[in-house]
Symmetry: C2
Subunit: 276 residues, 2 copies
């Protein structure tokens, strides 16, 4: 039986686009979920084998929320996926730009395409919708409206591309995580993600980073998050190059563990290729 890969839906989002890419040539069934926590819960309860969720630079779901879910569940990070986000202006087939009276999309997608809209659709109202995919679905039912959404949404809703790549910045890369219940073995080019709780005194973060610096483990991400309801107390998300089963990584973590309140390995997983 095919394994199931759940993703943050609805269909037609960038998360679906990257999930389709990932599932290509693999025996996986794709299943959309309406919320981030539902993807995590389905994996945790073994209703599905894998999940794909946005984690950085995303329009879909909040980075903070993904971090909260990672810290509160036993789900492991099994991989990372990168997608170069391309925003398209879409409408029902046969419509001319002059017929477009309103533009629908996620608020951040509208902002990311502001320069294009100001120049080509000045004065046309921009309507906020919860996701780019829902904007595309809405536009598919109405004349005189355009949506900013993904190429996948265009296919799904039979929309015509009025203009491709309309975002202000030509390259906008979004990072996604592949989650599951098992640890993945080392490949020789891996990353490890940690959640660390520190004692509340100046210099403790510095001291922990010192451990990683001494072992020459290259940090690729660091993020502090206030502990919910406890102002002034923080946890940290750290990513660095290496796999937890490598000797040097295991030693560094053992040393770091002595200086922290807690240390949770969120996963060791293959690095994404950087040539998109």
């Amino acid at each position: 039986m095919s394994k199931i890969l759940g993703y943050l839906g609805p269909r037609g989002t960038f998360t679906e686009e990257v999930s389709i890419k990932y599932a290509k040539d693999k025996d996986l069934l794709l299943k959309p979920f309406p919320a981030l926590d539902k993807v995590f819960n389905a994996v945790a309860r073994k209703e599905i084998e894998y999940g794909i969720v946005p984690v950085e630079n995303s329009l879909e779901g909040s980075v903070n929320f993904t971090h909260d879910l990672l810290s509160n569940s036993d789900v492991k990070i099994q991989g990372e996926l990168l997608l170069r986000v391309r925003q398209l202006l879409l409408a029902r087939p046969g419509q001319k730009p002059s017929q477009i009276k309103e533009i629908y999309s996620h608020p951040q997608a509208l902002a990311q395409c502001r320069l294009f809209l100001d120049k080509n659709y000045p004065g046309r109202p921009r309507i906020n919708i919860a996701s780019t995919a829902e904007a595309a679905a809405l536009v598919a039912q109405n004349y005189g409206k355009a949506a900013i959404a993904s190429i996948r949404a265009a296919e799904l809703y039979g929309l015509e591309i009025l203009q491709d790549s309309i975002q202000n910045e030509p390259s906008n890369i979004t990072r996604f995580l592949l989650i599951g219940l098992d640890d993945v073995p080392p490949t020789g080019n891996d990353k490890t993600s940690l959640l660390v709780g520190l004692h509340d005194k100046p210099g403790t973060l510095y001291s922990i980073l010192g451990v990683f610096a001494r072992y020459s483990l290259n940090l690729t991400k660091i993020e502090s998050r206030p502990i919910r309801g406890e102002l002034g107390k923080y946890i940290f998300f750290l990513d660095f190059e290496g796999h937890r089963e490598e000797k040097i990584v295991a030693q560094a973590m053992q040393e770091a563990e002595k200086q922290v309140l807690f240390l949770k390995v969120l996963g060791s997983y293959p690095r994404a290729e950087s040539d998109l």
Copy 2:
């Protein structure tokens, strides 16, 4: 003439709620803006004097997007504001819980209230809307629907409170920034926010944090962000206690500046009181 305080709207959001609190007893006119970048641009062009934008743990606008706007503009952080977010279940007056067939809200608000909904409204469809305020506006026009939104949305749209404080976690604090064009003077209890670009080699972050540790400047936030389109290159947002005009802070920054690609002071501003 009154000065204008712009905020990320629409009316009825948590950002409006904190803006009303801030403007109380001050001679300020409040003005909602439809997108984060529009608040920043209005301040930068001196169309308005101040802006309030969400920056951490927020449902409204992305943390990442606020960071991007801070890094790309000359707008200064002039203050921070904290709000304990309380989610309410709202409907048109006179309706009983049994009459509610659908629940409308921002996807993350629906997730934050999942336990309450699962228990009290099992099987009732949950509909994603771009903001809690827009969900409240929609529900105000329809029977048989409830919205999850702020107390401010209830007032604004004449909705009845079916249940107060329905979020899974009792305390959910959101942080907002007050932005403007001027530097604010020291109060003796301040914070400074920096944007730092580092040379791309292991240990540089550690070395910079060492400067702050030597001067006993307590870090309250650290966040790395990939440089757009340049995978593997990072900038850092750092917050620490102290004001840029304090001697010790000025010395630490001078020392740090020698080791970095660039260092931009986003603002020195009074710390928010932590007893909400």
